[in-house]
């Protein structure tokens, strides 16, 4: 039972990580524009996140070094500090977007005023993180996120075109015209980026240490990383399919969260709609908690300070102060009325830009026999890791030009 519940770390990381506000809307938009053509980006992103999530979990367990400790080691103090600042700024922006999204979903559920719900959502999440042990946070949010399965059921109930979906596994280099080609690649990079958001590995590697994993748990590490990511991937495919089935034929380009949510409930009655909203709520709450905690983890790991959700708050003042500050600042940003989807677009694009600086140190550490001993990467791990890192770097270089050329992916 304990092992089974251990999978919730992977589920929460993946659901909060790549089925968050950005992915829900972004993938639905991709389906609405290109049908199933971007399936390959989801498959590629899933493979990359499984490989790197497993790697960072293994490094955390064997070397007792979470992500920002290895970033410090391999990038040095100055560049490492720049990556820390950029990563935590992105975590803050993402956290603000998720809190804004949560308020929208609560409004759709209760009809209460948005600002009141913003306050309530922040207070509830802050209290939950403060009171619950790490394992209970991941179990509560990971398991409640399973309600998102309603999106997969909805996609199947609407009879996707399986032949087209299979054909989508092969990239199409060019589209009808230059504008659509650029849009296609913008969404490909965006989906890939949203699946590899840095805070997933920040949270996952710290979570492995929070749960006191030992080298004996390495088999479980792979299972947790793979199962969580595959589940997240299936839901992402469902979102793409719903965009292709519901929105593409009608010429709808969904620009608001409530439209994307509707897609998951479309074949069902009111209860389906409530489950779809609740599932999204759990995923967004998972993402908000992951980003806030990652802020604290990253800072403490970089400066080698004590950290840990399961330690008394007073004994880890910097860690506690940082995640509380992340929530407070994110709340203030959300309160200004800035649109959550705008924030999340920024985090997806700029997250991609700094991604190589997070994944390179993980690969280097996992490949270092002196550090990892018999748990060092196999040749196969290294080859796949390098290929993925090259793809991440290409996507990082392409992200900003594509963003400018497509005006943030406007059709």
């Amino acid at each position: 039972m304990k092992k089974l519940l251990g999978v919730t770390l992977g589920i929460m990381t993946a659901l909060g990580g790549f089925v968050d506000l950005g992915q829900i809307v972004f993938t639905t938009q991709a389906g609405a524009l290109f049908g199933y053509q971007l399936m390959w980006a989801i498959v590629l992103g899933t493979a990359a996140i499984i490989i790197y999530m497993e790697m960072c979990g293994r490094v955390a367990v064997v070397a007792q070094e979470p992500v920002f400790a290895v970033v410090h080691t391999w990038l040095g103090k100055k560049l490492g500090l720049a990556v820390l600042i950029a990563s935590n700024l992105l975590n803050l922006i993402t956290c603000a977007a998720e809190i804004g999204g949560i308020a929208i979903l609560l409004h759709l559920l209760t009809g209460l005023p948005g600002n009141l719900l913003l306050v309530a959502a922040t207070l509830i999440m802050g209290t939950m993180v403060f009171l619950f042990r790490f394992q209970w946070i991941e179990r509560t949010l990971g398991l409640s996120g399973l309600m998102m399965i309603v999106f997969a059921v909805a996609a199947v109930a609407l009879h996707p075109n399986w032949a087209q979906l299979t054909r989508g596994l092969v990239p199409k280099v060019s589209q009808a015209d230059a504008k659509h080609t650029l849009l296609y690649w913008y969404f490909a990079v965006g989906i890939f980026s949203a699946m590899l958001m840095e805070y997933e590995v920040h949270f996952y590697s710290s979570g492995a240490m929070e749960e006191d994993w030992t080298p004996k748990d390495l088999g479980e590490n792979f299972m947790v990383a793979a199962l969580g990511s595959v589940l997240g991937s299936v839901l992402t495919v469902a979102l793409l399919a719903l965009g292709a089935i519901l929105f593409l034929p009608r010429g709808v380009f969904p620009q608001i969260l409530s439209t994307a949510v509707l897609s998951g409930a479309f074949p069902f009655a009111q209860n389906g709609l409530i489950v779809a909203i609740a599932g999204c709520l759990a995923c967004l709450a998972g993402a908000a908690v992951e980003t806030a905690l990652s802020g604290g983890y990253n800072l403490c790991q970089f400066f080698n300070l004590h950290w840990g959700k399961n330690l008394p708050a007073k004994s880890v003042p910097v860690f506690t102060g940082t995640w509380v500050a992340m929530f407070v600042l994110a709340f203030v940003i959300a309160l200004t009325g800035v649109r959550p989807l705008q924030l999340v677009n920024i985090s997806i694009v700029f997250g991609m830009v700094i991604m190589p600086f997070t994944y390179y140190p993980i690969l280097r550490t996992a490949s270092d026999k002196n550090i990892m001993g018999k748990h060092v990467n196999s040749k196969f791990d290294d080859v796949i890791g390098v290929i993925m890192l090259v793809l991440i770097t290409i996507a990082a270089l392409a992200a900003l030009p594509l963003m400018v050329l497509t005006h943030w992916g406007r059709p």
């Binding site: 100055k78 560049l79 720049a82 950029a86 929208i104 409004h107 759709l108 559920l109 209760t110 009809g111 504008k179 519901l246 009608r250 010429g251 709808v252 380009f253 969904p254 620009q255 608001i256 969260l257 409530s258 439209t259 509707l262 409930a265 479309f266 069902f268 009655a269 009111q270 709609l273 409530i274 909203i277 700029f350 830009v353 900003l400 400018v404 005006h407 943030w408 406007r410 059709p411």
Partner: protein, 140 residues
């Protein structure tokens, strides 16, 4: 390396606001605005069907129409702050008029979500808006 990252960040900060200050709409941007308006109109129509079939909860229906209204209102305001390139004034005027009409429809709908006759009438009017947007699109 740090300098490069700093320059890149500064460049991005300078480029981003510039991207959001489009005062003169090119033909391509005008076409993009029309696609957006048609999408919002179609989205509204789809939602009206969903509500008419009693599949939306009361709070979802009210909330969704608010968010749709906000989206249309934002696009409408952005459009009102812009002007078209030479030769596209006619399409621009048509688009602007249809955004106004869609905005009015959505505002009216907010108080009538439980009135099925009102929903049916609104659907017809939104279909007319879509036809007008199609005409604007083909005139570019």
């Amino acid at each position: 390396m740090l300098k490069a990252i700093g320059a890149f960040a500064l460049g991005s900060i300078l480029v981003l606001p510039a991207c959001s200050r489009h005062k003169t709409l090119t033909r391509e941007e005008l076409r993009s605005e029309i696609i957006s308006a048609k999408s919002l109109a179609e989205e509204t129509e789809m939602f009206l069907d969903y509500v008419r079939q009693d599949r939306a909860t009361k709070y979802y229906a009210q909330g969704h129409i608010e968010y749709l209204t906000d989206e249309v209102e934002n696009s409408r305001q952005e459009l009102h702050q812009s002007s078209p390139v030479q030769g596209e004034a006619d399409a621009f005027q048509k688009l602007s008029a249809q955004f106004d009409a869609l905005n009015t429809e959505l505002h009216d709908l907010r108080g009538n979500l439980e009135d099925k006759n009102a929903l049916a009438t609104a659907k017809e009017r939104i279909e007319r808006i879509q036809r007008a947007l199609d005409a604007a699109s083909s005139s570019i």
